[in-house]
């Protein structure tokens, strides 16, 4: 079973990203969970969301304390939130930042696992004209977690976007480009 923890800010779409990831994994035939940790927080507050992905039925209903992967949607959370807490031996963290892994390492309080970075802002602004970190973050997460092959993922998302954006097909291409660019650019 793969366990993933998301850190984001309310309103930024970390919850949506976790649900999208669950969707992608679901479509590959897996058992999935996608759920946020709920409180009365409003826009801007740090929030946490989770995914479990497994070939077996999942019965556990608790938060995830020892994730295989952590995804940080907003770089500014590195300071106030202990984002690397509990990451499993051999686990990894993915951070949305314009820095590279080496540069960001100092902000991770001695974390020794693998660090991936992705500049979701640049990708989003380039491909979508606005800052929607979700799409590139999802692609990067799928890539580093090894949930499915790139090709299959892109095929899957093409279908999903065609459905989701049926009324505004013009945005599909930009979203697909954002995915592709994220897959290509996510780096250690």
């Amino acid at each position: 079973m793969l366990e993933i923890r998301w850190h984001g800010r309310g309103g930024q779409g970390a919850k949506t990203a976790s649900l999208l990831l669950a969707d992608v994994a679901f479509n590959t035939g897996k058992y999935v969970q996608g759920f946020p940790e709920y409180g009365p927080e409003r826009m801007g507050a740090p929030i946490t969301a989770y995914n479990r992905i497994s070939d077996e039925k999942i019965t556990i209903h608790s938060n995830i304390y020892e994730p295989d992967f952590v995804v940080v949607v907003d770089e500014s959370l590195l300071e106030p939130v202990d984002v690397t807490k509990g990451i499993k031996e051999g686990g990894a963290i993915l951070i949305n930042t314009d820095k590279n892994a080496e540069e960001i390492k100092n902000s991770l309080k001695g974390f020794n696992g693998t660090i991936y970075t992705i500049d979701a802002r640049a990708i989003s602004e380039k491909c979508l004209g606005r800052y929607f970190p979700n799409t590139p973050m999802l692609a990067a997460a799928v890539k580093i977690c090894g949930i499915m092959e790139d090709e299959a993922f892109l095929r899957e998302m093409q279908g999903s976007f065609e459905h989701k954006f049926a009324s505004k097909p013009e945005v599909i291409e930009g979203n697909m480009n954002a995915l592709k660019m994220a897959i290509a650019e996510v780096g250690k």
């Binding site: 999935v32 969970q33 996608g34 759920f35 709920y38 409180g39 556990i60 209903h61 608790s62």
Partner: protein, 393 residues
């Protein structure tokens, strides 16, 4: 052919409601059940149901409108949580005493004092003696399946009682998980039409509902009402059997997980049962004879069946997601231990109050409980029966 999908518990229940296509749905939002009427209102807006959706101004009015509608001859349902559920409390009794098979999706959340939006069972447990059938659900699948069965159970001629289907707030209501849905036509055929024998809108025979009942009759009415609850046990099993024929999924009054040869047993309700199953699997690998009894039907309470299932076990931990203050224990413990009084080979039993206000419960917590049970079994001493799990001392 079942429809494989992934849904949150709330959406799953909303879909069950759409498939049932109730006549009247009065609703008032409260976290975490709010999404249910939200999803449903979209079905109304899109013409997918023929329901009269009434956006009432409170939960008290939601249940009151359900009572009016159901008495009038219409199938009605609603959803609520926590304080909203508590606000309905007075009229929950009326719904049951009027023998109205209303269905309620209760998304369990802690009662206020202080305010908290997360899961515990103090809301539903507070109304355990309101005369409603109570069915609990471990996950989205069970919430969906139970809701479909609830309509049939409540409306059965031998029962004629309202049914609430509970699931854990946020933990399952907002978690997206895999689910197998049943085709719309099959659900429709399964629940059938609501055809009450007598109802307000029957022009041929006016009726009067909700009398002032003097002491000359009140206790007979209550005894008559209790009979519906007594008979509900068989009806629940009968409906479960038909449901299995349709869906392949099996339900009883409670679920036994690796219980047969278990020596150490946890009794628990809703989502924590799933976490316990995972803990049991790992404990079994290291030779611990751990087992689980998961309550599905809390009202009517399957007392004899539980006594039989727990007879001969060494130690039992009953977990209450609801404070009992200075009662014999939490509500589940008080009843389980009472059931055990008649067991032929009575196990030791202790109570754990846990998970209040959404406090997370991990497999590690569950393992700790089994470890306590193992100590009890070894020492032969139960020790303190009224325990807390994970409270900072």
């Amino acid at each position: 052919m079942a429809i494989r999908d992934r849904l949150s518990g709330n959406e799953a229940v909303a879909i069950a409601m759409r498939q049932i296509n109730p006549d009247v749905f009065p609703a008032f939002p409260i976290t975490p059940s709010t999404e249910i009427p939200q999803f449903f209102s979209q079905y109304v807006a899109d013409g997918k149901v023929a329901t009269e959706f009434i956006t009432v101004e409170s939960e008290h009015s939601a249940m009151s409108a359900c009572i009016g509608a159901q008495s009038a001859g219409a199938r009605s349902m609603t959803a609520t949580s926590s304080a909203g559920f508590a606000y309905m409390w007075e009229v929950l009794y009326v719904a049951a005493s009027c023998r109205l098979p209303i269905t309620l999706a209760c998304v369990n959340r802690a009662l206020t004092g202080p305010i908290n939006i997360n899961c515990d069972h103090s809301d539903a447990m507070g109304a355990r003696d309101a005369g409603w059938i109570q069915i609990y659900s471990e996950n989205n699948q069970e919430a969906y399946d139970n809701f479909i069965q609830a309509v049939r159970i409540g409306e059965h001629a031998d029962v004629q009682l309202p049914v609430m289907v509970c699931q854990d707030g946020f933990i399952t209501s907002h978690a997206v998980e895999n689910i197998e849905l049943i085709e719309d036509e099959k659900v429709k055929a399964f629940v059938g039409e609501y055809e009450p024998e007598e109802y307000l809108l029957n022009a041929a025979q006016p009726i009067a509902v909700g009398p002032y009942d003097s002491s000359a009759y009140y206790i007979e009415h209550k005894r008559n009402q209790a009979e519906g609850m007594i008979k509900a046990k068989d009806v629940i099993l009968q409906v479960a059997k038909e449901f299995k024929d349709m869906s392949g999924r099996e339900y009883g009054l409670f679920e036994e997980y690796r219980l047969d040869d278990a020596e150490l047993v946890i009794v628990v309700i809703n989502s924590t049962a799933g976490t316990a199953k995972a803990a049991i699997d790992s404990l079994r690998k290291i030779g611990v004879k751990a087992g689980l009894l998961k309550i599905r039907v809390f009202r009517p309470f399957p007392m004899q069946e539980i006594a039989k299932a727990l007879s001969g076990k060494k130690a039992v931990a009953v977990m209450d997601r609801c404070e009992g203050f200075s009662a014999a224990g939490g509500p589940l413990f008080a009843e389980i231990r009472s059931a055990l009084y008649d067991a032929s080979d009575r196990p030791m039993a202790v109570n754990y109050i846990y998970g209040l206000g959404g406090r997370d419960v991990t497999t590690g917590d569950i393992e700790k409980v089994y470890s306590d049970l193992a100590d009890m079994a070894t020492s032969g001493e139960a020790g303190e029966t009224y325990r807390y799990l994970g409270v900072r001392e």
